[in-house]
């Protein structure tokens, strides 16, 4: 591992003193735990995929954990989250059960969608998670709809719409930015710029070199954020949330992040070098950074972290066992949930 000094987090507009971390030990510990849970969960999912227990598409979030975990630190119950198909991390971060997510990946009745949605389609209204959507960019308009709902009801909640830099070129994303600004909707647009839309680098897909400006024609403030640093994400997220909750309309965050794994499981990875991936992992890994900060800035003990590691490992192991023992959906499930009963 390369040296990664415990850094005092900084971000555009950070107002804390030079040596004063903007995050509490408790928050960082939670973030570390949640990021680690996502990492271990995704590794296990990759393993189960390799064993043929998970089918179809499976997009892993490994490398990007700081983005959703940092944002989640800024949200309150009642806020909504929506994302694309690289969604397992978002589910876990919003507090959805690892068991239900893993069992959905294996297509079992114990999955969040009773095995009928799969990796890309899980939801939990209780946790404010609105999917899990398979059409690139569609979740952005839907996310503006969640924010519209908050505006219509005047409930003070904020919606976070996540999308990749690939989706940021979709026409409906621009339509959505305009609508959100036009109606001053409490919507945070989070571009997870992991540099590659499948195998096409952002430079080959977008003429813009700064996606945080994508909302500028409509006056939407935007920031570029180090998405590999959970503290920087949290700081930016707090600015965005404050802006939205105050009724100032939408906010846009471009998170510079990186996925270590392929786009999906069947990714030959010929569009980037192994060294590029390795360098990112060694120098910028969000979990390693958080770990060092806990140990060095907050005087956490290795033993404390070991407790977290063990807890996470147990959750993931339990989810994998559940995902294999939960039965496949009954054949009668074919015909349920097509329509709701009319009242």
């Amino acid at each position: 591992m390369a040296e990664t000094a415990a850094r005092v987090p900084r971000g555009k507009g950070a107002s804390k003193g030079a040596n004063q971390p903007s995050i509490s030990k408790e928050q960082l510990t939670r973030a570390y735990r949640d990021m680690l849970l996502i990492r271990r969960f995704e590794e296990k999912a990759g393993q189960l995929y390799g064993m043929g227990l998970i089918g179809g598409f499976c997009h892993l979030y490994i490398g990007q954990e700081a983005v959703v975990v940092g944002m989640q630190l800024c949200l309150k119950p009642g806020d909504e989250v929506i994302t694309s198909y690289r969604d397992h991390g978002h589910m876990l971060a919003t507090g959805m059960e690892a068991r239900g997510v893993m069992a959905e990946l294996t297509g079992r009745i114990g999955g969040y969608s009773k095995g009928k949605g799969g990796s890309m389609h899980m939801f939990s209204r209780e946790k404010g998670f609105y999917g899990g959507h398979g059409i690139v960019g569609a979740q952005v308009s839907l996310g503006v709809g969640l924010a519209f709902s908050n505006w219509y009801r005047g409930d003070g909640a904020v919606a976070v719409a996540y999308f990749g830099e690939g989706a940021s070129n979709q026409g409906q994303v621009f339509e959505s930015l305009n609508l959100a600004a036009l109606f001053k909707l409490p919507c945070i647009f989070v571009i997870e710029n992991n540099k590659y839309g499948m195998g096409t680098s952002v430079e080959r897909a977008s003429a813009s070199r700064d996606l945080s400006k994508n909302g500028s024609p409509w006056g939407i403030p935007g920031e570029q954020v180090n998405g590999m640093d959970v503290v920087a994400v949290k700081e930016a997220g707090e600015r965005a949330v404050a802006h939205c909750r105050a009724g100032n309309g939408p906010y846009l965050l471009e998170m510079k992040t990186y996925r270590y794994r392929g786009h999906s499981m069947s990714d030959p990875a010929k569009y980037r070098t192994r060294e590029e991936v390795q360098k990112m992992r060694e120098q910028n890994d969000c979990i390693e950074t958080a770990r060092k900060m806990l140990l060095e800035t907050f005087d956490a003990k290795e033993a404390d972290l070991k407790v977290i590691d063990d807890e996470v490992k147990a959750i993931v192991q339990d989810s994998a066992e559940f995902a294999q023992t939960s039965p496949e959906p009954d054949e009668s499930e074919l015909w349920t949930d097509v329509l709701l009963e009319s009242r």
């Binding site: 189960l48 709809g145 609508l179 949930d337 097509v338």
Partner: protein
């Protein structure tokens, strides 16, 4: 000791070539390290270690072809204490793939025509006194009544507010309900449809007006993939109570891009209900039901009908059930099945046919999905003859569907092959004479009825 298995690297991979080992026996391995390269028919891919430890033994040498998925390829010592719990019972992916389609066939239960439960042949309720109103007024009254009853109902679309509706359907609604519930949209169908669907997922009940259904093509992904499928994909968690409404089909002299019937497009989709009213009573009763329905509804209106006047019940609670057809006129010799504006033509045809001694029964479908085939079957069992009418194209059209379902349900009751009357299979021409020829004409309906009755 952990065995490293030959991984599946794509949804369809069953075997591959172990092209190269990047780690040797005795090497330390960290989770995420690339340990080998595998070639499939599609690509060369890297195998990453999942667990930490030392590579103790390579079981499959590099260069080996045809290594089946899940074959142990190496052994790893130490690090991870977690046992690969699933190993023993891991099904072969090819077995899973082979199995699925067969099972689907076996369990596809309503093979012929699922007759919807609510279509039990109850006579239509008598709503008492009526007064003549236009379809336009009926639609507006329906929206106003439901908006008064439920604060979660709102109307959005282009020109629905200050302009009072491109076709004046929303006239007066902005004054009564204000700009938060009658919301003018920019010309951005894809975006605002997605926004409305997202709002509906939280439990709001949007009415989305498309200036015409032609423009819903801009937004069809959100209707199909987000509105219609999410309930199923969420295992029943996330419904979408939304109405998409607006004029559908040909108006007059607006040419191909503005004169298309989308009935069969939307009726094709499980997860949607599709309603197509004809009269003012249809419009009012069915739109109220659509707004109250917890499912996504496509509500296909017709611009030419907007100004037509029909008797409509005055009862404040008047509502009609979705999924139930109406026998508009009883007859004994031939069944004419129509929806939307074509019901009017069928009624005219029935008058003329009566004068020629042919008794036609006219069925107004009202709902295209779920289709009330039971009412049509009952009629055909009586008349033994079927003619379908629609403005849209014949290919995979509503007429084709109705006729096929009749063949499946009561083939033996037919005394003649069903006949479809429909728009010509061409983009709509602009020229007045050509447009007239492209749309179904009264004489074609009469001719079709005569053909099936051999007169």
């Amino acid at each position: 000791m952990t065995q490293i298995l030959m991984p599946a690297l794509s949804p369809t991979m069953t075997e591959g070539k172990l092209a190269r080992w990047l780690k040797a026996e005795g090497d330390a391995v960290k989770a995420g390290d690339v340990i080998a390269e595998i070639e499939t028919d599609k690509a060369t891919m890297e195998v990453e270690a999942v667990d930490e430890g030392t590579l103790t033994k390579i079981l499959v040498p590099e260069g080996t072809d045809g290594v089946a998925v899940n074959t142990p390829i190496a052994e790893l010592n130490g690090g991870a204490e977690e046992a690969p719990a699933a190993k023993a019972e891991a099904p072969k992916p090819d077995a899973v793939l082979d199995k699925a389609p067969v099972e689907k066939m076996e369990t596809a239960k309503p093979a012929a025509t699922p007759v919807p439960a609510q279509a039990a042949a109850a006579p239509e309720k008598d709503w008492g006194a009526t007064k003549p109103i236009t379809v336009r007024e009926a639609l507006r009254d329906a929206m106003a009544a439901e908006m008064r009853a439920d604060k979660d109902v709102f109307l959005m679309g282009e020109e629905v507010g200050q302009y009072q509706g491109a076709y004046k359907i929303s006239q007066g609604l902005l004054d009564e309900f204000g700009p938060k519930r009658v919301i003018d949209m920019p010309i951005t169908e894809h975006g605002f449809t997605g926004m409305a669907v997202g709002a509906a997922m939280t439990g709001l009940k949007p009415i989305v007006e498309f200036m015409t259904f032609n423009f819903s093509m801009q937004a069809i992904d959100q209707i199909v993939n987000s509105a219609a499928k999410t309930l199923y994909m969420s295992g029943g968690q996330l419904g979408c109570p939304i109405v998409f409404r607006g004029p559908n089909g040909a108006a007059s002299r607006v040419a191909a891009q503005h004169s298309q019937c989308y009935a069969s497009w939307y009726a094709h989709l499980p997860g949607l209900k599709v309603v197509a009213p004809w009269s003012a009573a249809d419009a009012k009763g069915l739109l109220r039901a659509a707004i109250r329905d917890p499912n996504p509804i496509i509500f296909l209106e017709n611009e030419i009908l907007y100004g037509q006047t029909f008797d409509c019940p005055t009862d404040e609670d008047f509502i009609l059930p979705i999924g139930k057809a109406k026998v508009e006129r009883e007859g004994t010799d031939v069944t004419l099945v129509a929806f939307s504006i074509m019901v009017g033509m069928a009624m005219q045809a029935a008058d003329e046919l009566a004068a020629q001694g042919i008794s036609a029964e006219v069925i107004n479908l009202r709902t295209l999905r779920p289709l009330d085939i039971e009412t049509v079957v009952k009629s055909v069992k009586k008349t033994n003859r079927l003619v379908t009418l629609e403005e849209g194209w014949p290919y995979a059209g509503i007429g084709a569907e109705v006729a096929m379902q009749i063949l499946e349900n009561c083939f033996d009751d037919l005394d003649a092959p069903p006949v479809r009357v429909h728009g010509l299979d061409i983009p709509m021409p602009y020229a007045a004479n050509l447009e007239k020829l492209a749309l179904p004409r009264l004489e074609q309906v009469i001719e079709a009825a005569k053909r099936v009755t051999y007169k």
